[in-house]
């Protein structure tokens, strides 16, 4: 299956991408996606601890299973207002 992953702010600058398409096995979790991403983009590693994850515009836990077509966002600590 294929998901879209969006990056913002510091992680976006670190890896030089704002959006990628990632192929994953059926039933892969957000955690497994992150393992894949940090293998491809080691610069992402330092942001893992403080990043929240969102799937289809909702914050999720790492154990959530992904589905084909999902839009995942890596959300580093927010700073609006």
């Amino acid at each position: 299956m294929k998901v879209t992953v969006r990056f913002f702010a510091a992680p976006r600058e670190a890896i030089g991408r704002s959006e990628i398409e990632q192929h994953l096995p059926e039933g892969a979790t957000v955690r497994q996606l992150l393992d894949e991403l940090t293998a491809q983009y080691p610069a992402l590693h330092r942001y893992l601890e403080t990043m929240n994850m969102a799937v289809n515009r909702h914050y999720v836990d790492l154990d959530v299973e992904l589905r084909d077509g999902d839009v995942v966002a890596c959300v580093p600590p927010v700073g609006g207002g």
């Binding site: 702010a9 515009r57 966002a73 959300v75 580093p76 600590p77 927010v78 700073g79 609006g80 207002g81």
Partner: protein
């Protein structure tokens, strides 16, 4: 010329007008409006700020702003309407970065609801602030 009604919860690249955002609340039942205006400050931690760059995940940010509005109306039942408009992009010192406006028939609950709105925005909305000074930059957050 477009006459499309303005959204109550919006991420925009355009300059903000407090009056304009307040105008989105218009309703004959209201007797009180409270506003919060966020402004780009010229100094942080002893450093002179050159400018800020705000970035957003706009679709999710608007969802989260809408959620904050719903949370407010759930918790403070007299609040009639909530509008939150956040600007993104390059912003120099003194720029209005966010306007929150909310209305009610009477003033009792508007201040508490407004305080909640800005605190909650800073907690959950996917917007990021890059502070740029003369010889460097940093992505800032409250955490």
């Amino acid at each position: 010329m477009s006459a499309a009604p303005k959204k109550l919860f919006e991420i925009t690249i355009d300059p903000l007008s407090v009056d304009e955002v307040v105008g989105r609340l218009a309703d004959p039942s209201i007797g009180a409006i409270a506003t919060f205006v966020g402004v780009v400050r010229g100094e942080t931690d002893g450093r002179q700020v050159h400018h800020l760059e705000y970035e957003a995940y706009p679709e999710m940010a608007e969802d989260m702003l809408r959620q904050i509005g719903a949370e407010i109306q759930q918790r403070w039942s007299t609040i009639q309407r909530v509008a939150i408009v956040h600007r993104v992009g390059h912003q120099v010192v003194g720029t209005v970065s966010v306007v929150i406006a909310l209305s009610a028939p009477h003033r009792e609950e508007v201040f508490d609801a407004l305080h909640y709105a800005i605190d909650r925005l800073k907690d959950i909305v996917p917007i990021w602030k890059k502070e740029v000074w003369a010889d460097g930059y940093e992505w800032r957050s409250e955490r």
